[in-house]
């Protein structure tokens, strides 16, 4: 009986110690998992960076119909690794088949933020791997110049006049930008676009949304490839200098306050 109880106690002790070691191991693992803080808390991109998407004029190569356009962008590093972005463009879409002659066009804009995940090795390392969010909107119009419905009973033809519409969407993107020459950058991005509620425009429905793609799809994928130029003008530095000047100049211009001596006549009297 004693042997049995001793064995039971030993088993419990073993289990307890095992649990303890597991706890210690888990704590160690947790310590390991804690990421080291980023050391690149400095702004690398001085000034504004302007870009042009070189893929926009050639979209007809991978989309149905004759889709083409231009797109420009601008971004700056407002705080370390955080880039507010503005993109704007104009797009055309034409489809001409035996049944439909369609044309759509419009302007679009997007604004949002990019965050750089790539830690810089030094201040000259300006390559970034980023994730971003965008809000996009477009003002567009479409027209069916001619349509044909072929039937055993003979063809029916018709057309639809100009329809104007507004559309909006959100984008989730992943991309890279790298400095290829001094102040010249190149970069690509993969975008997942989700259409937000759009107003129905009547019949026929909107087919193409500039900057988004096919309106019938609730979501679209897109690929961009852009070239950028960073205007080497450090606006922060200039703002800083102006502020400093203001601080230095101010005390000089301020006149010394005139302290009036108290009138002691009455008291002395």
């Amino acid at each position: 009986m004693r042997i049995l109880s001793l064995t039971l106690v030993l088993c419990l002790l073993a289990a307890f110690s095992n649990g303890q070691t597991h706890k210690v191991q888990k704590e160690k693992e947790k310590e390991k998992k804690v990421k080291p803080k980023r050391e690149d808390n400095y702004i690398r991109l001085k000034g504004l960076r302007f870009g042009m998407d070189v893929t926009r004029p050639f979209q007809y190569l991978w989309t149905k119909g004759d889709r083409y356009g231009t797109e420009f962008s601008g971004d700056l590093e407002i705080s370390p690794n955080l880039f507010p972005v503005f993109e704007s463009g104009y797009e055309f879409m034409k489809i001409k088949t035996s049944y439909v002659d369609y044309s759509g066009q419009g302007s679009y804009s997007r604004f949002g933020l990019d965050y750089n995940f790539l830690q810089a090795e030094n201040k000259n390392d300006k390559n970034i791997l980023y994730g971003g969010l965008r809000y996009g909107f477009a003002f567009a119009s479409q027209k069916v110049n001619n349509y044909l419905i072929d039937s055993y009973w003979g063809p029916t033809t018709g057309s639809f006049s100009n329809q104007n519409y507004f559309a909006q969407w959100g984008e989730l993107l992943l991309g890279m930008k790298g400095e290829v020459f001094h102040n010249f950058y190149m970069g690509w991005s993969i975008r997942f676009k989700i259409q937000l509620n759009n107003k129905a425009i009547g019949y026929p429905l909107a087919y193409f949304i500039p900057g988004f793609g096919k309106a019938a799809n609730g979501s679209n994928f897109d690929l961009t490839y852009s070239v950028y130029y960073n205007i080497p003008w450090d606006f922060r530095k200039n703002i800083g200098v102006k502020k400093l000047k203001a601080i230095v100049v101010k005390p000089k211009s301020v006149k010394k306050p005139v302290v009036k001596k108290p009138v002691l006549k009455k008291l002395t009297d």
Binding site: T55, F58, Y60, L61, W62, T63, K64, G65, I95, T97, Y99, V100, Y102, V144, Y147, L148, I149, D150, S151, Y152, W153, T156, M186, W188, Y203, P204, L205, Y207, F208, A216, L223, Y225
Partner: protein, 152 residues
């Protein structure tokens, strides 16, 4: 630079797959030729054409399922020959224009209101579904008298 060249290559490969457009869909009225005594589909040698059209829609084909293309007018009529016995069928319907997409184009869908016919071979016509859409399905049952030799 390598990435850029790779992208251009992908774009050119992708461009080889473009510009393939589907034909616009067509709504067809589908009829089942039925033997009213057994209530089962019955095969018949059918030839038919639209009244006012020169060309045949179907010529001397042994079938138990036939399709009728409807017009945008309120009434569409056909002359149908069942094993050389001729009947005339008139479909009264409404038509609605539908938008597929700018790639496939536009088409019409119909709603059957009533059907009139002569009764040389046709005994009766039952409407099973009045909506004639691009997803072809049975809209009517054409109950025709069986041939004396059988023909089922």
């Amino acid at each position: 630079m390598k990435q850029f060249l790779l992208l251009i290559t992908i774009l050119f490969i992708a461009s080889a797959c473009k510009e393939i457009y589907e034909l616009p869909p067509q709504a067809m009225l589908q009829a089942t030729i039925t033997n009213p005594t057994t209530n089962l589909p019955m095969t018949s040698k059918v030839t038919y054409k639209g009244i006012g059209r020169d060309s045949m829609w179907v010529s001397a084909t042994s079938v138990n399922l036939i399709t009728f293309p409807l017009s945008t007018k309120e009434t569409t009529s056909f002359v149908v020959s069942f094993d050389a016995t001729v009947d005339t069928i008139s479909f009264n319907h409404t038509s609605t224009q539908k938008y597929g997409s700018m790639e496939t184009g536009f088409y019409y869908e119909y709603k059957l209101k009533s059907i009139n016919s002569t009764h040389h071979r046709i005994l009766s016509i039952d409407i099973t579904d009045s909506l004639v859409t691009t997803i072809w399905h049975e809209n009517i049952k054409l109950n025709i008298s069986p041939l004396p030799s059988g023909g089922v």
